[in-house]
Symmetry: C2
Subunit: 611 residues, 2 copies
């Protein structure tokens, strides 16, 4: 049978597709995990793709039902009902991809502008003799001074401790790893320095190993923050640390041990050793930052909630207990405030292309949600709001983290409900994006009143037991007799409180900048949760202002990307410090009328998202 | 009875002296330990003093016998036969003082030009508020920037680790201890930084605690280098270190533990804690330097004998294991070569007033003797010669270290011998200065031939037993039946080898600079042994060229003084680096004709010291 070459972008997978094979089927064949809640029946409208080039089958009834005129004109189709009629290039929007799939895309964004602080210099040193009995370190520095560039005049003491035997082993040839004016490592000739970029989240940790000469990511890995054993969230860890210096030290130790292990594993994957890591850039919220390097955190938790330090730090990795190259540095991006850390700065750095010169909101949703409003003059107003852990699946009856089996997408139809689980596994609970979808859909379906009350009789899946109302996503029967998975009235309340906090934060920033929501050119949504939410449903519950969807950018783990950028470029680190100078921190609790606004926002908006 | 006010200088002790009380007796009454081998009978001529002002009794026959016309004219007298005839000021030359007494004088020389790298800045910081939630370190730096002087822009990470609770305890007042652009400690308001200067010898360690604001020495202490347990001399320690990394690490650990204890004891004496020590300057030979901070020493012991590093180092004290102020630095003066270390540089710095603008030799006699020849243009030629341990009392039959009971002064008369022991204790052996005296005196008395052979029958105390000739200093009878203390033929040989090494070193430096010995304006003799030797006797055996005695300066522990100077002044440290640039290191073993010269110098010179 004839086949056509179909090319999925920006993922970059292609192959021959039969004319009777839908793009949904063919994408899956190529390992592209498009979202489909209805099983390819044109009902859920989640498998949307955009035909960029080439001919395809005519729009179906489902296309016409779920897509606007303009979207159809722009080439959007539902992949489940669309077939090739020639070679095609098919664009896949991130929102049509499953969680796991999106992460792969993110790692494509790491082609970074290179201006690393660390470089390797190949040297052949003169062998000392009785005529010229130069000290080994002197020979090294003299050879470096013979080259262009800034004067190198120091050798780290841990380098000195192994320099003499190493030079003799390598017969006086070596690669000097230089950072600024200092030699931070001396490696065998031909060695290339690598750097470690880490996004140290309260829960998850993402690590990337970069070749600092090419900017290439040579290994990456996600892991858990081992501090979780001492408290799930920031506040419980600060409380734990406050109990005694030993406990604070324990939190430091486990975090550092985690990073040492991460570094070792990444290096092993790349065929390297941790001593090849010449520099580490770690970004995290202010509490993670402080706990990682053993700074006190008591003052973070008490008004006026100040960090021990906000400026960017570059300390010897060994002073933090990291076992990297002998004289390697650990660099930490600046903290904006007690509850706005270097991870937010990293996110801003990574998304500068999205917001520069515009009116923009950039936010990272979590237990604490950090929000910045940027104006075209480059001024930044930032605040943090206590949005609580509901969006992370906590304090939700059937809530779960975003792991296999978690319901991540929900669609409520008149009679029933559709959902997709992570990894297409048997449903085990609801994660943040699923619960947000559910609330949004229930609101749009009229199941929830404007004050968030579940209306009895509004839908076949609404029920009341023991005085608790709930909407059942998966019944006991559907689960083969196990407990039903449902959204309870209490769950709705938790989500409304969380969304109210964020909504209020955005509102306060807009008010402070005397801007109307419509004046925002772009809303950058960063972070794991933010990447996976359905923006329409988020607008439906009032989390975001009702702006056209094309003004929203779901950028994934932008903090990790920011860490990679900062690792690869001193220019980016300078930008981080400049950014800090431009930031005006706003303490939400001090904002007049905060409570009134927050109270108002605990309701559901009666708005239809604009297109 | 009438008394006269007698003032001993430069010691600065004074009191009323009776006209029938000799200056020797009165000095002892005041606790001044003048040397006297003959018990005050005008025989040994060691208790020489200079009448600077006032009237005294007429010169005695002993004065006329032992002093030159010129010396008499200049007011020199033997203290044992000199009595006041009015109020007097009496100068005491260092060579007339006992060992212990001289050390006290040395500590008077420490009034140093102050330009410390470390200073305390008193600050009252603004209390953070919700309106101004500045990070603690930011407040600190902002307050420092409000003051004149170079921009301070970094806070050591160990300072950050305690800053927040400390500031709150001290109600936002503090003394910031600043070094260059960095805050290295934050102390309670009113704190003054102190510094630690250490002369880390192979055997002895001298420590001084300086108030860095005043330059005053607030405590000082001598102790032993605990590495002695792993080898008496440098070479045996390098051998020990070479056996395994663990053994090298052990040497490092014990040395650091010793310094930590020294710091703690000095601080306790001054009512301070080791965390008040904001900076340490340590000087030592290259091997001690390397072993202290864990640098490899193998290459020091193998041709071409190069140091791992020669440049001055300033490393974080914690990186060496020193427990001082949180961000304190350990500074090490530069090494000139594998066997000429920072202690020699320190000595040169401390004695610059003696040699600047002159033709000078400056040397520090030990197992290795470092010698520098300085010309009026500031050029320095340095070499090291293996003089062996004989001058330190090793490899000598009855040799001992310079401790109580050691014979430190010897005078050979026609019929007998006189001597003085350290602390006037029962004689237990001979220390370096005693053996040198003995050889010199035996040579002058004709007991030794020019090739160093003890002549039978030349003196009642010469005897031969079991084929070994010896000169008996203390007989069995004089010791109450215990073994006699004597100088053997073998001892003479050892000393001649040692003096030949040094004599050759001086000769080579003179030849390289095309100078005759008479052109030397000054010979600076530093170090414990050098301070206590009798220069006339040293000249007698040929150790030093036969120059007038007033060209010799015995400067005591000049390395320790140099360490204090460097601690107190960044200018001195700059001088150290400049000195290093001006030094031309000369490898003695490579000098043509070295062996011939050395062979010739193994004889005794037939010279009478010039006056």
């Amino acid at each position: 049978m004839t086949t056509f070459q179909v090319d999925f972008q920006p993922i970059g997978r292609r192959g021959p597709c039969r004319p009777d094979e839908s793009f949904l089927e063919f994408a899956r064949e190529l390992g592209i995990d498009l979202i489909s809640l209805c099983g390819g029946h044109g009902l859920c409208a989640r498998c949307r793709v955009q035909i960029v080039e080439g001919h395809v089958s005519d729009p179906t009834g489902a296309d016409e039902e779920h897509l606007t005129e303009r979207e159809l004109a722009e080439g959007y189709r539902l992949a489940c009902g669309c077939f090739p009629r020639g070679d095609c290039t098919v664009g896949v929007p991130p929102e049509s991809l499953s969680t796991a799939m999106r992460s792969q895309i993110e790692s494509r964004e790491t082609e970074v502008a290179l201006a690393p602080l660390v470089a390797a210099v190949e040297l052949a040193l003169p062998r000392p003799s009785l005529e010229h009995p130069a000290a080994d370190a002197d020979s090294l520095l003299a050879a470096l001074r013979g080259r262009p560039g800034p004067r190198v005049d120091a050798v780290d003491v841990d380098v000195l401790r192994r320099l003499s035997p190493d030079l003799r082993t390598w017969d006086w040839s070596c690669a000097a790893i230089v950072r600024g004016r200092e030699v931070i490592s001396v490696a065998p000739p031909g060695s290339r320095p690598v750097g470690l970029a880490v996004d140290l989240g309260t829960t998850g940790v993402a690590g990337y190993l970069l070749d600092l000469a090419s900017g290439e990511v040579v290994a990456s890995k996600g892991t858990m923050n081992p501090q979780i054993a001492y408290g799930e969230d920031i506040v419980s860890r600060i409380t734990y640390a406050r109990n005694s210096p030993e406990q604070r030290e324990r939190l430091r130790e486990v975090a550092i041990a985690g990073l040492n292990q991460l570094a070792a594993e990444l290096c092993a994957e790349a065929g390297l050793s941790a001593t090849d890591v010449a520099e580490a850039v770690v970004v995290g919220n202010t509490a993670m930052h402080h706990l990682l390097i053993g700074l006190p955190t008591e003052q973070l938790a008490l008004s006026p909630f100040v960090p021990a330090v906000s400026d960017a730090l570059a300390i010897k990795a060994r002073d933090a207990g990291l076992r990297l190259a002998p004289g390697a540095y650990l660099c930490l991006l600046p903290n904006i405030a007690g509850f706005i850390g270097g991870d937010h700065v990293a996110m801003l750095l990574a998304t500068a292309g999205d917001w520069r010169g515009r009116h923009a909101i950039a936010l990272d949703i979590g237990t604490n949600t950090e929000i910045s409003l940027i104006t075209p003059d480059g001024a930044v107003r930032s605040l943090s709001c206590a949005s609580g852990p509901a969006f992370e699946g906590y304090h939700i009856k059937d809530g779960t983290r975003a792991t296999a089996g978690a319901i991540e997408r929900v669609q409520v139809t008149d009679e029933s409900v559709r959902f997709q689980t992570i990894g297409a596994a048997e449903p085990s609970g609801i994660c943040g994006s699923g619960i947000l979808d559910a609330i949004g859909q229930l609101h749009l379906a009229g199941v929830l009143s404007s004050n968030g009350r579940i209306q009895l009789g509004s839908h076949p899946r609404v029920r009341e037991a023991d005085g608790t109302r709930e909407f059942v996503l998966v019944t006991e029967e559907e689960r083969g007799g196990r407990k039903a998975i449902s959204v309870t009235q209490e769950d709705v309340r938790e989500i409304l409180l969380a969304k109210a906090a964020i909504q209020t934060g955005i509102g306060v920033l807009l008010a402070e900048s005397a801007l109307a929501a419509e004046e925002l050119d772009v809303i950058v949504i960063a972070g794991a949760f933010g990447s996976y939410i359905d923006v329409e449903n988020a607008i439906a519950i009032g989390l975001f202002p009702p702006l056209p969807l094309d003004r929203f950018r779901q950028v994934g783990n932008a903090a990790g990307l920011g860490a990679k950028l900062a690792l690869a470029s001193s220019v980016v680190r300078d930008e981080a410090r400049e950014l800090l100078d431009r930031v005006d921190y706003l303490e939400l609790a001090r904002y007049p009328g905060f409570s009134r606004l927050y109270g108002e926002n605990c309701r559901l908006a009666a708005v239809e998202p604009a297109r």
